[in-house]
């Protein structure tokens, strides 16, 4: 056999695992050629606008539809055969909520869908929606999770008898900590936020009579999970549903749930024969999707005078909103809080009680970092309070308690299995880079402009790509198992990869191609990654939990290894050698005296089978491979963030002067993409720290319903951080990769709040609530002044 053109030439730069390969998808994205839901045009497409509840809690007395619109307005009475959305936690004591896709009897949050209106354009649909009159009898609203548990509170779901989805308690020997010399107690709250991806949600539904199939185009991170939920709600078999999730403009968790809108539009397509579209507008997103991050902690940390942690005792409340959202349920946040509050530290005693509370707000969803951002905020602020109480540097207190590298892998007090890493080293590099000593000198000198300087640090470890046992243990109704990927060699030697995860900014079309290139040697330009379509991809729970590089990357790697083995066997036939005499190297089947490349193997297999003997392996060049890491307890990436701020105590303004991130995500498949992930996460973390908040009034009315009121960080608010990388491979995953996608958003609120509190410490002021708005900072300064005035 002679060599034909090899698929990859050795003189080119590395393009496999570890290469900073430019993103394959950038060509279409940067030229504005992406295809999002709103770009889809189908014949006869009509627009849907919803009549949404203007109040948080009310009985529906009547819905008045003008006679001329009776054929284009639909309410719950019209929706025959539709079941409500149910996301039932498997944990004992969980109270089930049923979320009707259009309100039945009652409305339970502002923005809840009451009727859907179909028009020739969105404007016309909105005109129709405006003509529908609701007769509502207001009920007292449950607007504050801390008051929701009080006796006599209004009830979101009357038959529960209270407003608690689930109460949990986890304890390890808390009594052993109670005699500690240092005992610091604080109440900490984090604001309710919106995720605000650039692209909102959107749905286009149509029915294909040839295939007898509903086709739902939807901006979803988890198309197969949407199909599960939709099949349940519509009561039809899964084969009659095809979910297509095209390009997605950011997900962050907001695009991880089954929407009532998806069910409604599916019903229109199936029962009314309409091809319909709904595109979430920014006002809908802000008022009806204010849905993450709202926690309240009452927390006590026990420590010795030398800063050693003796234990943590915490009561945490999560405002879960009115309904348990599908598939993550109302209790994921609380389950996470209880299990990850100890952070990257060792401690001998721990207790955490959690309450997932129902309120008259829209359902809570897991936002990038999920509960970790709040947990990191609570724990890291408390550690600074301990440091202040002990008269120690915050960095010192952390170093004293971090899990040490020689103890890895380490099972912590909540049985989290930290796989690998050097946490103290990350922290020390961050402290050195931000130069705490220099900040202390500068603080003593004072600033010419009267501002106060502070520095703060935070460190976390993040369980990612956690699998079956973890999710089953948390009672989440969606449990990931083995991940699959299909690798198909095309007759011209190209490669198609089919995966059930999705890519909404992560660059998976590039990184998965890098994994395949690493194993098969196929030019990444000749690798197509197909995702976002239930008809074309293997089942997957989708992209969430920083799992896709580990899980889909592992599945692609496994499929490619199996494909390589098959190609080797075919190559052996072509080389006229026994299979065991041939090995797979550099994208070629190599024998002692010659080799054959993948393109030729593919060409022979598909186009010239007459060149192969009859006893060739018949399985072909398309493989679906399955993968799970050695353990499914997750990878633990980690990072230390350090920041120096200048605070104007009279205006409450915070300027970020310097920002350092030291991160370890194991082996990085594409370090450039990881840098982008971290920078994006940092921007969101700064939003959480300083800007983003959806306040509600006593009637549970959301108050920041435009972007003039709901502030997002922009270019002027996000400094260029200094990124420092460490690399400790995970012992349990293919290539040693770890999940890294969410991490950037976890640590900034804690680091920034600690820096602000460090700056304000001479004034005696302390903030324990995010975001650190100018008003809150000034109020804290004034309160401290008042307290110090005799």
């Amino acid at each position: 056999m002679t060599d034909t053109a090899p698929t990859v030439s050795d003189d080119r730069a590395p393009r496999g695992v570890g290469a900073r390969l430019p993103r394959k998808e950038d060509d279409r994205f940067l030229r504005g050629r992406g295809q999002y839901v709103a770009d889809i045009r189908l014949p006869g497409l009509k627009d849907v606008a919803f009549v949404r509840s203007p109040v948080a809690h009310a009985q529906i007395r009547a819905i008045h539809i003008p006679a001329e619109y009776r054929d284009v307005v639909f309410t719950a009475d019209d929706l025959t055969g539709i079941k409500p959305i149910r996301a039932v936690s498997g944990l004992p004591g969980f109270k089930v909520s049923e979320q009707p896709v259009l309100a039945v009897g009652k409305v339970r949050h502002v923005g809840e869908l009451v009727a859907m209106c179909v028009g020739r354009s969105r404007a016309e649909a909105e005109d129709i929606a405006a003509s529908v009159e609701l007769e509502l009898e207001p009920l007292p609203a449950v607007h504050d999770m801390r008051l929701a548990r009080a006796a006599g509170s209004a009830l979101v779901h009357e038959h529960w008898g209270d407003n608690v989805f689930l109460e949990t308690n986890f304890e390890v020997d808390i009594s052993a900590a109670l005699d500690a010399p240092i005992k610091v107690t604080r109440d900490i709250t984090t604001a309710r936020q919106c995720m605000a991806p650039l692209e909102g949600r959107g749905v286009v539904a149509t029915f294909d009579h040839r295939l007898d199939q509903l086709t739902l185009h939807t901006g979803s991170q988890m198309p197969h999970i949407v199909r599960n939920g939709l099949s349940d709600c519509l009561g039809i078999e899964q084969g009659r549903i095809r979910i297509i999730a095209p390009d997605i403009g950011g997900g962050f968790g907001h695009k991880g749930i089954l929407l009532p809108e998806e069910v409604c539009l599916s019903w229109l397509a199936m029962h009314k024969g309409m091809t319909v579209r709904w595109l979430e507008d920014r006002r809908e997103h802000l008022s009806a999707s204010a849905n993450c991050r709202e926690h309240a902690y009452h927390i006590t940390v026990y420590a010795d005078r030398d800063g050693r942690l003796r234990g943590i005792d915490c009561e945490a409340i999560v405002d879960s909103g009115a309904y348990s959202s599908y598939p993550f349920s109302a209790c994921l946040e609380a389950a996470q809080i209880a299990s990850i509050l100890p952070g990257p530290y060792r401690m001998p005693a721990y207790r955490c009680r959690t309450y997932s509370v129902a309120t008259n707000k829209c359902p809570i969803l897991p936002y990038r970092g999920v509960a970790r951002t709040g947990v990191c905020f609570a724990l890291e602020l408390l550690l600074d309070a301990v440091a202040a109480e002990a008269g120690l540097e915050p960095g010192y207190v952390r170093l004293r308690n971090l899990v040490q590298p020689q103890d890895m892998p380490f099972d912590n007090i909540t049985n989290k299995h930290f796989d690998s890493g050097d946490y103290p080293e990350a922290l020390q590099r961050a402290l050195a880079a931000i130069d705490v000593a220099a900040v202390r000198v500068r603080q003593r000198q004072g600033e010419p402009d009267g501002r106060l300087i502070g520095t703060g640090v935070s460190i976390y470890c993040e369980q990612a790509a956690h699998g079956t046992s973890v999710y089953a243990g948390w009672g989440i109704p969606m449990v990931p198992g083995h991940e699959q990927a299909t690798a198909r060699l095309t007759p011209d030697g190209g490669l198609e990869l089919r995966v059930g995860v999705h890519s909404h900014g992560q660059g998976l079309e590039t990184t998965l191609a890098q994994v395949a290139h690493e194993i098969l040697g196929v030019d990444p330009d000749k690798i197509r990654v197909i995702l976002g379509d239930t008809a074309m991809t293997p089942y997957s729970t989708g992209t969430w939990g920083s799992r896709s590089m580990v899980m889909a990357g592992g599945a692609v790697g496994t499929a490619c290894e199996q494909l390589a083995a098959r190609a080797t066997r075919i190559g052996a036939k072509l080389l006229q050698l026994a299979p065991e005499a041939v090995t797979w190297r550099g994208g070629r089947a190599c024998g002692p005296n010659g080799s054959v490349g993948l393109a030729e193997i593919a060409h022979t297999w598909y186009r010239r089978p007459q060149d192969l003997p009859n006893d060739v392996d018949p399985s072909g060049l398309e493989v679906t491979g399955g993968y799970k890491p050695v353990r499914d307890s997750g990878t633990f990436s980690y990072a230390a963030h350090a920041v120096t701020v200048a605070v104007d105590p009279d205006l409450g303004e915070v300027e970020l002067l310097d920002y350092v991130i030291v991160e370890d995500g194991g082996v990085l498949v594409n370090p450039m993409i990881v840098d982008g992930q971290i920078l994006g996460g940092l921007a969101q973390g700064i939003g959480t720290a300083l800007y983003e908040e959806m306040p509600f009034d006593d009637a549970a009315q959301p108050l920041a319903t435009t972007l003039a009121d709901y502030l997002l960080p922009g270019p002027t608010e996000v400094p260029a951080p200094r990124l420092i990388h460490m690399e400790t491979p995970s012992p349990y995953t293919m290539f040693g990769v770890k999940g890294i996608g969410e991490g950037g958003a976890i640590a900034p609120p804690a680091a920034i709040a600690n820096a602000v509190n460090d700056a304000l410490r001479p004034l005696g002021a302390e903030l324990m609530q995010s975001p650190l708005s100018p008003r809150r900072i000034v109020a804290a300064v004034l309160a401290a002044k008042q307290a110090s005035t005799p």
């Binding site: 303004e653 608010e717 008003r775 000034v778």
Partner: protein, 276 residues
């Protein structure tokens, strides 16, 4: 977020515009850049049956000198002021203020007369032009009248405009060479609406001062009797009567102590600049 349907008129001349307004029975909204009106229409906070777009009228985009004063057409954009495309009689105050309004995209279309007519208490022009002693020219199909800014702005989003009337120009007196101006505002982010704002003008030649506190829920607080400085116009930084300013803010409904502290800080900084 689509506007309710409305009739859209783009008159070719001032007289056409005034005739349209006169015939609209008070039901027309004027669009003079649309940077505030546009979002309000899309949010359906306003559903006027008719929009009269005057942004293209040449008469309203011109600037002329009238003796010592500068008469700025209502539809001169913030960007044109920022870029120095109109004469400056304020020693740089006007371009400086324009530069701080929202974002460049907004400044490219937003107009000085549109901003005043919208009368958002947090708008830079409301506070600044009140401090500079500008007069607002209101015109209808029959007559015109001039009001000082504090007469024109009657509350949050409320003005003295009558049905059929239009802001056509702002008449700005020249600042004397010895005049001193100070300005400060507090915003959550550059370009966002201010949550505190103050402008201070000290005119030694005329022995007078004017202090304006904006970004409150009502019409700006204007103090033009130097009472905030004990009746003097020298050493204003030292003489600043913070307690009096605090009382004025409380009277204006600023009940939150932290918000008041921020207003007072911003005011003190504007005064310090004017005194420097």
């Amino acid at each position: 977020m689509k506007a309710a349907s409305f009739a859209y008129e783009r008159p070719r001349s001032m007289s056409d515009a005034l005739a349209l307004l006169a015939g609209a029975d008070g039901e027309a909204r004027i669009m003079a850049g649309g940077q505030s009106l546009g979002p309000m229409l899309n949010l359906r906070l306003m559903q006027p049956p008719r929009i009269v777009d005057i942004a293209g009228l040449a008469e309203l985009r011109s600037v002329e000198r009238d003796g010592d004063a500068l008469v700025i057409g209502a539809c001169v954009t913030h960007a044109n002021i920022e870029d120095g495309r109109i004469p400056d009689v304020t020693h740089g105050v006007l371009p400086r203020i324009a530069r701080g309004i929202a974002y460049r995209a907004v400044r490219n279309r937003g107009t000085i007369g549109g901003s005043l007519s919208h009368a958002d208490p947090a708008a830079d022009w409301v506070t600044t032009l009140a401090a500079l002693g500008a007069r607002v020219r209101l015109t209808n199909s029959k007559a015109q009248r001039d009001l000082v800014v504090t007469e024109f702005v009657q509350g949050a989003l409320q003005t003295a405009l009558r049905p059929g009337e239009l802001v056509t120009a702002i008449r700005l007196p020249s600042l004397s060479p010895t005049a001193r101006f100070g300005y400060a505002k507090a915003c959550r982010k550059p370009g966002e609406f201010a949550h505190a704002m103050a402008a201070v003008l000290i005119e030694p030649d005329l022995s007078r001062s004017r202090v304006v506190i904006g970004a409150i829920d009502t019409t700006p607080i204007v103090v033009d009797d130097s009472s905030l400085f004990g009746g003097a116009i020298t050493d204003v930084r030292q003489r600043f009567d913070r307690d009096l300013a605090c009382r004025l803010l409380m009277q204006a409904g600023v009940s939150d102590p932290a918000a008041r502290h921020i207003h007072l800080t911003v005011l003190a900084r504007a005064i310090a600049e004017a005194a420097a």
